[in-house]
Symmetry: C2
Subunit: 256 residues, 2 copies
């Protein structure tokens, strides 16, 4: 049974999509079977993996509204062991469309159920909000990976996110746990990064990944070529950091 | 009659809040009367101006749900000519609470109406989504200022934002116009920034501000002291850039 990991943080621009793309690609490069799901109407994960929005096709929107399996909307990617469920701009209206519907928080969980045994890891890229799409991801997930930019506004949102997780664990998904907090866009030279990093490590202790992701412009360039960083520039610090993170997750997995 | 400017972009982390705080503070330093409204449940604008969430008080949430004037929730700030309408986490549920309500898109416009003549500029900081809060801001606004990070994912979202603006202009607010696209977090040294900047200037021509905002860690440090950049470090490149932007907007204002 594959592990479902939601990549979530309501603060915008902290590296959710960059982490989903590059962690999934790094695990697939290690020959693990991986599925990534784009639950953000912006569709950055979909285009970051080279699938422009132009083609008319099925997406996560159809799977959720038709209560169908996500397998009905699968796409291949440039990486052998990596499959993608693309996003669609119609996801914007889902929250209103499902008002009043029974079990609307479990739509994604039900659509993922038939697909889980085909993959070892399933990542869900969340939008920057705590609305129905993110709640669906947190109800479908075994764990949540929280990318965190080492800056003040990102720190501020963390307590809100943790409070939401507690509420979800109490009411909708008792099994959910924190996979880890990932420090992203780290610029070792600034005091701000150092200060935030030490505060986070003190507060979250062993729930913070050892691996940190440095600020590296190559990571921001790769999506314009529709490629994960390991296909764009494997020698870059960004690529090495995500390969290291994949190793850390696989070791943690083996320990059980 | 004051000008209402929505600061909007559904892409996360592009500098909406940083621009709202520092542009408003720079105009207030030039003795213009300015009101900033925090329409993002994250409340970064509120805390970035030194008003922690702890105090029990009225917020934008009460003004919108009670159909009261925003003046019923006003706070002072460290800057004489700058007033604030704070956010509240209850704003997260507004979209669901107002489902089916007549004219739900105009709540903010109606709450701002009585306050407009007291200010020359009124800025609305939007959340990273195109949901009801941002639609309310776009229905209340005379113009929209679009902060844009010079990176691929931010570029991708621009066409979606412009399509939404056209739809709002056609159906809900025929008077809305683009104040300008502001290039933020510009790192002159990278090809990516140069490439994105030239594409944007070609596409948007005179609707792109001459002023650009450089990446400057001082801008990211200032919010942890609850201060706009001009009170935290007036000599920094970030402070100078926002003062220059304020001048550009005031000159544009005088030309009519
Ligand atoms: N480590 C890094 N170094 C440099 N740039 C980065 C890094 N990680 C992400 N970026 C860039 O920063 C921007 C924000 O990252 P990304 O889009 O992945 O964040 P997000 O949390 O998914 O945003 P949103 O909240 O809009 O979904 C993107 O332009 C991305 O290319
Ligand atoms: N020019 C700049 N140079 C360096 N850091 C900046 C700059 N502008 C903003 N920042 C920092 O980048 C992060 C994102 O900026 P900000 O929070 O203002 O964006 P936003 O668009 O309001 O995000 P959200 O989508 O979550 O509302 C913040 O930590 C902020 O302090
Ligand atoms: Mg994203
Ligand atoms: Mg903001």
């Amino acid at each position: 049974m594959g592990r479902v990991i939601a990549v979530a943080n309501q603060k915008g621009g902290v590296g959710k999509t960059t982490t989903s793309i590059n962690l999934a690609a790094s695990l697939a490069a290690a020959e693990r079977d991986v599925l990534v799901i784009d639950a953000d109407p912006q569709g950055n994960l979909t285009s970051g993996l080279g699938r422009k929005k132009a083609e008319p096709r099925r997406s996560l929107y159809e799977a959720l509204t038709e209560r169908a399996s996500v397998e009905s909307a699968l796409l291949t990617t440039d990486i052998e062991h990596l499959r993608l469920v693309p996003s669609d701009r119609n996801l914007i209206g889902l929250e209103i469309e499902l008002v009043g519907e029974e079990r609307r928080e479990y739509r994604l969980r039900e659509s993922l159920e038939p697909a889980r045994q085909g993959y070892e890891f399933l990542f869900i890229d969340c939008p920057p909000s705590l609305g129905l799409l993110t709640v669906n991801a947190l109800c479908a997930a075994d764990t949540v990976l929280v990318p965190l930019q080492c800056e003040y506004f990102a720190m501020e949102g963390l307590s809100e996110l943790m409070a939401t997780l507690k509420r979800i664990k109490r009411t909708l998904n008792p099994a959910i746990d924190v996979e880890g907090v990932l420090l992203t866009m780290v610029d070792e030279r600034t005091n701000l990064s150092q200060q935030v990093m030490s505060e986070i490590r003190e507060h979250f202790r062993d729930r913070v990944f050892q691996t940190t992701i440095p600020r590296s412009v190559r990571l921001a360039e790769a999506p314009s070529f529709g490629k994960p960083i390991l296909l764009y520039d494997i020698k870059s610090r960004g690529a090495q950091a995500y390969l290291e993170l994949a190793r850390e997750i696989m070791i943690h997995e083996e320990k059980g």
